[in-house]
């Protein structure tokens, strides 16, 4: 073994982590005949001894009780949020759609709207005008609700959660809640924004998806993680026919 070979082993020899006995013996034998390599090994051993002294000195170093408390609070807040009483799995929107997919869907929607418009016009020309109640109002931004990211008419599932359940046959309602895609988003129950108002009595409700600061959770009594209080949370706001916000639910 020459000095170069020894250099490769010096660290492992100093750390006593060389498993091969023969190689270790060869290395130690080399140090008997080479003062410089012996000095090199001694230097490595001294360094490790100093490292161990630092390790011993730091052995009791731990984060302060403030960190312990903050983490425990975060854990409890998360557990409380997850264990919300009426958690309904909802199909989530795909987050990363490729451009061509978006374009395809947009084209599909345009075609559908065109077909529906033609159908609607031809039907109106032959049949009496339907009641206005069947037409969904256009999205309205109320002072209570921040600017909506996107507006959407209520789907069957939303109606199950907000509208009068007895309006739907049982079979239809169950089907609506079971029907879901692979990805699911978790929502809280709806929290009424006006005290004493019977949400089920309202008609022509509209659901608007918005983003609010995390601190908004506290407005309805949900726990707020101080660390993420300023981070946006998604929420669905129920708008009444008059355009005023009536209820809200949060989405994870």
């Amino acid at each position: 073994m020459n000095c170069q070979d020894f250099e490769k082993l010096a660290l492992a020899l100093a750390r006593n982590s060389l498993l091969d006995n023969t190689t270790r013996e060869q290395g130690l034998t080399h140090t008997e005949g080479c003062e410089l390599c012996a000095a090199r090994l001694a230097e490595e051993r001294a360094l490790l001894a100093r490292v161990r002294a630092v390790v011993a000195e730091l052995a009791d170093e731990e984060p302060s009780a403030r960190v312990d408390a903050a983490l425990l609070a975060a854990f409890r807040a998360q557990t409380a949020a997850t264990a919300s009483p009426t958690v309904i799995p909802m199909p989530s929107r795909p987050r990363h759609w490729s451009t061509w997919k978006v374009a395809a869907v947009a084209a599909g929607i345009l075609i559908l709207i065109s077909v529906m418009a033609i159908f609607w016009r031809s039907k109106n020309s032959f049949s009496p005008r339907r009641e206005e109640q069947s037409v969904l109002p256009t999205p309205v931004i109320t002072p209570q609700a921040p600017a909506p990211k996107q507006a959407e008419p209520m789907t069957g599932r939303d109606q199950v959660a907000v509208e009068q359940p007895k309006n739907l046959p049982k079979r239809v309602r169950r089907r609506a809640s079971v029907d879901s895609s692979d990805e699911a988003e978790v929502v809280t129950r709806f929290f009424p924004l006006r005290e004493g108002e019977d949400l089920t009595a309202l008609e022509n409700l509209q659901l608007v998806r918005v983003e609010l600061p995390g601190s908004a959770l506290s407005e309805v009594g949900l726990p707020v993680d101080p660390e993420t209080a300023n981070e946006p949370v998604k929420a669905d706001v129920v708008l009444g026919q008059d355009g005023l916000a009536r209820a809200i639910r949060f989405i994870r």
């Binding site: 250099e7 410089l36 100093r50 730091l58 170093e61 984060p63 425990l72």
Partner: protein
């Protein structure tokens, strides 16, 4: 009398993700010192170490299901997360905390220049000696510092360190060698700042 069974990290993590507070507390107590000391040695600042510890466990709360026990220990996984956090925080705070000018290969202004020579106790005390080592470690480039902290200070195996640092085991090995050489050089300079301290390696024959 039989010993009470100690739940594994994976078991505690599973329980924690299911909302078991005791499991979370046990897991936190088991690993908090390790993560805190890693961040402290890497950054040299207790405030950064605390912030890193908090961020690492918050991430574990939110994304703990991403940990795969088949890939390695939870300690290595957490150290990997801590390392990313430390580098991120130190990058943000670089304009405020940088004490040592260093070139890419770790050649730095001698640490001795940063240490008061008027200290009457000098390097006679154990504490001072430890401080020198810690200063020398802090003066290393991050890629060498992290390997030395994990393998020497945390006594992690090369394989675990490789997992934490997301690099091959061979890289850990070579960086540890290079890191030790730099560390020794810095310590020599700290002890004998005015002399060109010879290193054993420089005078050996590699024929």
């Amino acid at each position: 009398m039989t010993k009470p069974m100690v739940p594994s990290d994976a078991e505690l993590l599973r329980l924690m993700l299911a909302g078991d507070e005791q499991a979370f507390t046990a897991l936190y107590r088991r690993h908090k010192g390790h993560i805190y000391r890693f961040a402290l040695l890497m950054s040299g600042q207790a405030s950064i170490a605390e912030e890193v510890t908090q961020e690492v466990f918050l991430a574990l709360l939110r994304k703990g299901d991403r940990y795969d026990p088949a890939r390695g220990s939870l300690t290595a996984y957490l150290c990997g997360a801590a390392r990313n956090q430390v580098l991120l925080l130190m990058e943000h705070e670089r304009p405020y905390v940088q004490l040592v000018e260093e070139s890419d290969d770790g050649e730095a202004i001698p640490i001795a220049q940063l240490i008061s020579r008027d200290d009457p106790l000098g390097d006679c005390t154990r504490k001072e000696a430890n401080r020198l080592v810690r200063q020398a470690v802090l003066a290393l480039p991050a890629r060498y510092r992290e390997v030395i902290v994990l393998c020497d200070f945390q006594e992690m195996s090369y394989a675990e360190a490789a997992l934490a640092l997301d690099c091959p085991v061979g890289t850990v090995n070579s960086r540890l060698h290079r890191g030790h050489a730099l560390l020794l050089k810095k310590l020599r300079a700290a002890v004998m700042p005015d002399s060109a301290a010879p290193d054993a390696q420089g005078m050996r024959c590699f024929a």
